[in-house]
Amino acid sequence: MNEAASSAAYWLPVVFIGLMGLAVLVYAILDGYDLGVGILLPLGKEDEPQRDTMIASIGPFWDANETWLVLAIGLLLIAFPIAHNLVLMHLYIPAAIMLVGLILRGVAFDFRAKAAVGHKLAWDRTFKAGSIITSLAQGYMLGQYVMGFQPGWQAQLFSAVSALGVTAAYSYMGSAWLVLKTESLLQERAVRWARRAGRATLLGVVSVSTINPLVNPAVFDRWFSYPLVMFVLLIPTLCFLAFIFNDLLLARLPKANDRHSALPFTLVVTIFLMCFIGLAFSFFPDIVPGQLNIWQAASATASLKFILVGALIVVPIILIYTAFSYYVFRGKASELHYH
């Protein structure tokens, strides 16, 4: 009995960090593309039809996408309350800025369609600004997190690089999404955006993954200990190959009959997945790098059991009906008639 209880106390936090990781990853991919679309929004007067199509491409999804952030932060709050407190105490100001960005973005999206015609451009500007603010803030917070919330200019510099890197990565995801969901002129434009964003993202990923092991000795040891190194180097290798291949592919897009238009998005998802696995591998089982591990931060076992029942029933259902929703709105965004 006692043994069973202590084993539950061991594996429940592992299950919950897994669920939380899933939520973060899904969030980064899904809100990643719609934040990216917001970042890329062209603001010229003549761009209005393209803006409409771009926003139409994320219309049916953004609400649900953002909910994954609530799930991720919710799981952190429920399963690891001490870590939640610690993380948010350190990230108070950037979190507040991110929230304002999310608010502006979320509402601008709805206001633009419903406000007086003359205000549409103003809401589009708000949408773009909100997307940029959100992405920068998230990247900055990621940087602070990776640095274990150390003070000092090095950590600030790293966080600034991370902020730009994440913003580039979201643009990359967003433009790949547009390559998939749009056609003709806008699609060609998206291909060009994707190439540029891809190179910027590569630069970001390389600098972050070079600095991270250099400043975190524990991370360095973990990555470069023999014989594991042979295996784990697959992660950056795959990631790098996806970058190269996507760049070569984008140079040839769009092709006749829209062939391979889904491939860039798949490749960017692969890149996100590899970066995520790399981060997880660097820090697991710490939930606050160098300060707190998942067992130290976990809630009472009884609470985790209670919520696990719900999570195991609901998360698969969510995944199924998310898939259903994407199936319903498959195809090119321009087919969503706006008038």
Binding site: P60, V107, K114, A116, S303, L336
Partner: protein
């Protein structure tokens, strides 16, 4: 002067006040929308479809504001009230978790199909999506009220070293005040949405909208309000009795009773004075407060004096309570008067329409006042008898909270203005739309009109 505690309290109050405006509308509006859609499915009368389409757009806008302000709420616990999760996280966490898992996702995902899926899915799937969204909004209220009620009247837990551990989830969820609070809140949402729908419809009619759709929506809103308000008064009374039993200090503040007394008068108006522990300018009905709370003219009501250092500030609770009750009485008069006029004359006169326009946001006033009664009334406790508000607050410097508070307030003021302004624009736009027009002018953004024939087809397809 302004320390982290007071700034954090102001920030939390601002966040929750702003947030609650939108769910209060959407919880019940979701069901009104399902009603419109079902009526359309039943009667095939396109008027219901037009009503449905207009209100779905309003719903989408309101829902978006609810989502973004809700995300802000979920961050507050960690940013400003770390002591809350550290002490009662084992209980609050799963309740919040179930809210996100069951409700939030249900709403957010099906909303996509509800808003944009009209000619992509069969009509029945579409109706079903609207129904799931309504279930989601209601479940959302269920979990949040469960948590809030537990904070007011905690049960089903055990304290070990000051940390709460769950003993019985049933006892935690179905705590002493939960049934009253949930019913009271759902009815409050029903009334808010009813006046909201009636008010905006009245505005459209005043602006010369000749169509049937706003008239049907107006009637739906008025009848709903007329039915709900007496039930709400009854439930509110039960809720008050429950509070009297479990949180007597809150009732003492609501009634402005300083010293324990028998046969306490019902104060219609007074200015409570916390310094001198007395009221000025009392206008009272003798013995009525005792009668309402104990059903005995000479029943005893405990005064503030019985709870030294353990009672809420009297004046804000006292005034908020009177504003809530006053709004309730006004709603009763307007809803019943409006129904009577509608029944006798079929069409409301202009002055009545103007009154309804003036009452569009009446539900907001009553709901906010009600929340202030219950939330300020719980002070100085965050979780009654378990955790004081002051012990839960963060250690971060006041300047940080000052910064975020300013930021939020600025954004909230702009958004509230934009929201109300946009509702006005949407109403005015819809005035110009033809009754059975099949193309929606750019206004929609979210919905394409569905010619009747297409829908028949999709209905047919679903049978095959």
């Amino acid at each position: 002067m302004l320390d982290t505690l007071i700034l954090s309290r102001i920030q939390f109050a601002a966040n929750i006040s702003f947030h609650i405006l939108f769910p209060t509308i959407t919880i019940a509006l979701a069901w009104i929308i399902v009603f419109f859609k079902l009526r359309y499915d039943q009667t095939d009368n396109p008027v219901w479809m037009r009503a449905y389409r207009f209100w779905v757009k309003v719903f989408a806008l309101t829902f978006a504001l609810g989502v973004v302000s809700g995300i802000t709420m979920s961050f507050q616990f960690g940013t400003n009230w770390p002591g809350f999760m550290a002490r009662v996280g084992n209980i609050a966490g799963p309740l919040l978790g179930y809210e996100v898992l069951t409700a939030f996702f249900l709403e957010a995902t099906f909303l996509g199909i509800m808003l944009f899926g009209i000619n992509r899915v069969p009509s029945k799937v579409h109706t079903f999506s609207a129904f799931v969204v309504a279930i989601g909004t209601t479940l959302s209220a269920f979990w949040i009220i469960a948590l809030n009620s537990w904070m007011q009247t905690p049960s089903g837990f055990e304290l070990r070293d000051g940390v709460a551990y769950p003993e019985s989830w049933l006892a935690i969820i179905f705590n002493a005040s939960f049934p009253y609070r949930l019913t009271h809140m759902l009815l409050a949402s029903g009334l808010t949405a009813a006046f909201f729908v009636a008010g905006i419809s009245a505005y459209r009619i005043l602006k010369g909208d000749p169509k049937r759709a706003p008239r049907l929506a107006l009637k739906t809103g008025l009848v709903l309000a007329a039915v709900f308000i007496p039930i709400q008064i009854f439930v509110g009374d039960l809720h008050g009795l429950n509070t009297f039993k479990y949180q007597p200090q809150k009732v003492a503040a609501m009634e402005g009773v300083w010293e324990t007394e028998r046969g306490a008068p019902l104060l219609l108006f007074a200015i409570p004075d916390g310094e001198k522990k007395t009221n000025h300018f009392e206008i009272a009905i003798p013995k009525m407060a005792s009668f309402i709370l104990t059903h005995d003219l000479n029943g005893e009501i405990k005064g503030i004096e019985e709870f030294p250092n353990d009672h809420p500030p009297v004046a804000p609770v006292f005034f908020a309570f009177r504003i809530m009750v006053g709004m309730g009485i006004l709603m009763l008069a307007v809803a019943w008067g409006g129904c009577y006029l509608l029944w006798r004359r079929k069409e409301l006169p202009n002055w009545a329409l103007k009154t309804l326009v003036g009452m569009t946001f009446a539900g907001w006033v009553a709901t906010l006042a009600g929340w202030y009664v219950t939330e300020i009334g719980r002070q100085p406790w965050l979780v009654t008898g378990v955790l004081k508000t002051a012990d839960a607050v963060t250690q971060i410097p006041p300047s940080h909270v000052g910064f975020s508070l300013t930021l939020y307030l600025l954004v909230y003021v702009i958004l509230l203005y934009a929201y109300i302004h946009t509702l006005k624009v949407m109403a005015l736009k819809s005035v110009k739309v033809e009754e059975f027009e099949t193309k929606e002018p750019l206004a929609g953004g979210s919905l394409t009109n569905l010619p009747k024939s297409t829908q028949e087809q999709s209905k047919g397809e679903s049978h095959e």
